[in-house]
Point group: C2
């Protein structure tokens, strides 16, 4: 066994052991740990900034690009957010132990379901050091042990945060192995982490498409993954024009870089000439490039032609693709073919078409007369979010504390035997 293999095995065994302890920890104990970690991070601002400075200097040396350097940076404001996040997770309801649907069966036994932690969660992420804190707090509150593997460029920042987390856990009387942050940057570590089903119950990758596809492909444990968000808005010919324009503008332009940003607009043929000119005037004023089908290019001058690949694109930029469809059926067909099953919305005042869209669009969030930008854990009331799953099994859409748990059956009897 190589050095890194035995290191990962040890981490895994420690996490498995700690997972039993955190699974039975009381809500008060978990909240105390979260608050201790928050206080320790506040008290360690100097150390965090110093560690981050090291990472930033190394980043400059390695020639990291500007967006990566930005994500890597810890500012006082970002440290404030980490602290606020920890205290907020402490206020959330504890999902663990909740019993639901407890019913008497004809045999006399009572059968229900109890919410339980998943066990050990492996989280693989890129350069943002605040993810260390965020992910650790959600796993901790949901009763799971965690192994965190952040980007190698953030190693010093992550170690400084890890040290606050370890002390906070111990202050609350919990094992520091409940949250373990890798202190080595070996490339093999990820490959090992995702192939230890005896120690790790689920992997959550947070990062670019390449990272997530690689992990899904090689993992021997289930992966809760979030791929891209090629989100659609369909403006039906029974839509309210004013609402449609306002929602289409908000969904595309409120923020360009999020996964629930609108990327592709579909418009019913008979309403196109009425809604598009006013909408596109606004898009152009805001600097949005429009790549359109031929029919739309005849209605509105000076647009780029959309190519086949545009229908699949997640731009994360001031660009939108636009296409005329004949009706809601063609819209649904187009969406189910090209979308990434993240979030799609219809604008219509027609009851049956709204119902049809809701039922037949196969995405993790389906909306009526609403901006796609609402698709996130906070707006949905989950209180926090570890990611947005575009998977179908287990968790779909924004994943909060509940998505980090499972349910077991509980059966209460009084000496009942089966006949």
């Amino acid at each position: 066994m190589s050095d890194i293999e035995s290191y990962m095995q040890q981490l895994g065994a420690q996490a498995r052991e700690a997972s039993h302890e955190i699974a039975r920890a009381t809500t008060a104990q978990k909240n105390a740990a979260l608050k201790s970690i928050a206080r320790l991070i506040d008290e360690s601002r100097d150390q965090l900034m110093a560690a981050n400075k090291l990472d930033l200097e190394n980043g400059v040396e390695k020639g990291l690009d500007a967006p990566l350097m930005d994500r890597l940076e810890l500012t006082e404001g970002r440290i404030d957010s980490m602290i606020e996040g920890l205290n907020q997770v402490a206020t959330l309801d504890d999902p663990v132990g909740e019993i639901s649907d407890l019913k008497f069966r004809p045999s006399g036994i009572q059968v229900g379901r109890m919410r339980v932690p998943l066990g050990v969660i492996g989280i693989i992420y890129e350069s943002r050091p605040n993810v260390t804190c965020e992910a650790a707090s959600l796993c901790l509150k949901s009763g799971n042990a965690t192994i965190l593997r952040g980007g190698s460029e953030a190693i010093h920042s992550n170690q400084a945060i890890a040290s606050c987390i370890a002390s906070g856990l111990e202050e609350a009387g919990l094992s520091k192995h409940v949250v373990q942050v890798l202190d080595r940057t070996d490339r093999d570590a990820v490959g090992l982490l995702i192939t230890m089903p005896e120690f790790v119950d689920v992997i959550i990758p947070r990062g670019g498409k390449g990272l997530i596809e690689r992990i899904s492909n090689d993992a021997k444990v289930p992966v809760i993954k979030h791929l891209d968000g090629n989100c659609h808005l369909y403006i039906d010919d029974k839509a309210d024009i004013e609402k449609s324009i306002s929602v289409a503008v908000n969904a595309k332009t409120q923020r360009y870089g999020t996964c629930c940003t609108l990327e592709s607009l579909l418009v019913a043929e008979t309403i196109a000439a009425e809604v598009l000119p006013a909408l596109f005037d606004q898009y152009r004023e805001l600097g949005v490039e429009i790549r359109a089908c031929e029919k739309i290019r005849k209605i509105y001058d000076g647009l780029e032609t959309a190519s086949e690949s545009d229908w699949e694109e997640e731009y994360l930029a001031p660009i939108i693709s636009a296409k005329i469809v004949s009706d809601v059926d063609e819209a649904i067909k187009h969406i189910n073919k090209y979308s990434s099953q993240h979030t799609e919305s219809i604008m219509t005042e027609d009851y049956n078409r709204a119902q049809k869209f809701l039922r037949e669009v196969d995405s993790s969030s389906v909306m009526i007369n609403t901006s796609t930008r609402f698709a996130d854990g906070f707006e949905y009331g989950l209180g926090a979010e570890i990611g947005i799953s575009t998977d179908k099994l287990h968790a779909r859409g924004p994943v909060g504390l509940e998505g980090l748990t499972s349910q077991k059956y509980v059966v209460l009897g009084d000496g009942h035997i089966r006949q």
Copy 2:
């Protein structure tokens, strides 16, 4: 591309296409299909028996063993059960489209969750031809398309059943591709089926441990798996003696071959001398072999010694392992170490110990004062069962119609935009 590869690709593409159709089918349409299939099977008894005769003759030629030959056989009674099963699934509530937890958020949007099919389910099973019908009916009712791959020794029986299913689907106006049964026995087919994530959303293997482990290891799609059931009963020193004996006898001897049969008995030290002699007298009378720890062998004469491997064994036979533990904590520790996380039960009249056991035992079903034999979909009120999952993600414990679905978020607005 080889011949079998293109065959599987075609099946996959047809299933994906059909999955959209069955996802939006009405409850009435799905029930009509189930009832048509039931009627057609009843009308095709002669063809089914003739096809099965071929399989049985081939089985004799190949020298299949007696249990396998028994599972392979279709009797009039087994055909009756298939018909009854189909009609019963038609009476179950349709899980698809159910909206729950629809709540207004401070922003004014309404957020809820809608139950939706998984998409395409691949089912891999061994020789029992009635599984073809059972699995098809549950997937159909839950709005999923299915690709079924039965054991090669049952190929003729499965084809005869498949033809009834195809006709029944078409009678109800549905595509026959909603349920596709492989009509080829190539060994490569399984390997291909479990590595087509573009066409298959989840794999459910039904069969022996070897099959399931091989599939879990090679699959590139999520697997809902059921491994073995090494089930425990712990008799606490606060247990009622009479109830304990009755439950322990029932859990072990009511049926030996099921996955929820009791395999390992734990007894608190201070009650052992009181409870074990009467219990073991009954076990012996019923022909159950007891493999015990040294402490128990001092209380009761003539028992086999349990070896380390006995604590891990799923006997599926009139054999039980038995061990003295000091208290509920040691019992929980032993169970979480050796059990297969299927079903465990405690006998106790003590409130806190019952709660502790319920909370801390990490198995798919955890019971108080109840025979482990109750762990099945029918006893739990699921109406039907496609298997029992010992996984943690998605479905845990008996899997019925709900376990074959997922939930997407639905958001209702009236032109709401994000600020």
